[in-house]
């Protein structure tokens, strides 16, 4: 299983702070899966971290990994 964590407004958009999903090969596939499940993510700005490390390109997701979806925050 993989744990997918949502931060900031993504918790409102998805209604959850984290979910467990079946194995997914890589971050591109996970992003597609999440957009299908939560259409509000479709046009959103986000960054992704796998096991607490930011990734900038498609990355393999190993069993038991934690993947974070982080939107930008603007408030102050």
């Amino acid at each position: 299983m993989i744990e997918v964590m949502f931060f900031g407004q993504f918790k409102d958009a998805t209604g959850v702070s984290s979910i467990m999903v079946e194995e997914v090969a890589n971050t591109d596939m996970l992003i597609q899966m999440m957009k299908k499940r939560y259409p509000a993510l479709e046009s959103s700005t986000y960054m992704i971290a796998v096991n607490n490390a930011m990734v900038t390109e498609n990355t393999i997701i190993r069993h038991g990994s934690k993947v974070a979806f982080m939107p930008p925050f603007s408030g102050g």
Partner: protein, 377 residues
Amino acid sequence: MNQTIQYERYQRQLILKGFGMAGQQKLQQARVLVIGAGGLGCPIVQYLVAAGVGHIGLADHDKVSLSNLHRQVVFGTEDIDSYKVDVVNRKMFSLNSDVDISTWNERWTQQHCLQHFPDYDVIVDATDNFASRYLINDACVLLGKPFVFGAVSQFDGQVAVFNQSQTDGSRSVNYRDLFPLPPANGEILNCAEGGVLGVLPGTIGTMQATEAIKLITGLGTTLSNRLWNYNALTQEVFIMQLVSNPVSLQYMPSSEEQFIATDYEWLCGIPQKGIKEIDVLEWKQNFLDHLFVDIREPHEMPRLDTLCSSLGLEWMALPLSGLENNLSCLKDRNVVFVCQAGMRSLMAANMLMKASPDASVFSLKGGVLGLAEKSII
């Protein structure tokens, strides 16, 4: 500035291992620029002044309003309508008159950054909007200044130290490495739209002050190349390791000329021309025959049922998150969109205007907060 260090004032930090008189002298000689004197800026300036930072610059064009007071705890009710920077300056003199403070009560532009950033050692981003955040980021990268970033969203906050010099001569990542381009207008809620737990900017601003003090004194390890995330509801902290992003370079102005030519407000989608905003009074006088569409999410209060039935309005609740898929039901209708503060309704109006260009489409300026201000709800 008083050049002799008052031992008694700083005694509790002077006795700290690794801090001592040398650390205090570094603070005394430091110049820190804080942009934003709101929820984040207030605690940042308070702690930096208390700690004995020699010179602080503070910029904010805003005046104190009643809705600031639940989180901007430097201000009192009697300060409403005064410039924030003036109130902070006065109160900080009482806290520690050794600290020299310069203030600007105007909105900062590229020219301000180019003129004043070189005079400071550390910049602190305590702003509340993406236009200012990208402006500060790009100026710091261009001018080689480290900056302490902090931001809040409802119950979540984050802090990082960007563009700090590393031992190999490179610079730590900056905000464009995380998000090369700003989000679309209305996509991310600000405090007025989305709300914020009053104490949260206090927590995040205090963390930013901590990082500024570490940058100046060299104590500890800063949040350089790391993003510190905090959730007030769970008290959970999530630290993310950051890496540089090759895409960010495409969007970063590479010269002062390019920086000056960048329109940050446009880039961050601050109200585009062509979208019609109406204020509450105009709406009540002339547009009650338009379908009134509340695009807030179901949990956002107060609801508008009572108002709409008392005015005999045709209305519906259609959350922005689902608007794109439901645009067909609004096609060719004359519509006034409303949200909490009037930002997301602009985005909704923009979407509908594209889908039905001939309809009469408006965004209600000030949103539900504006209705409350005029005592309409």
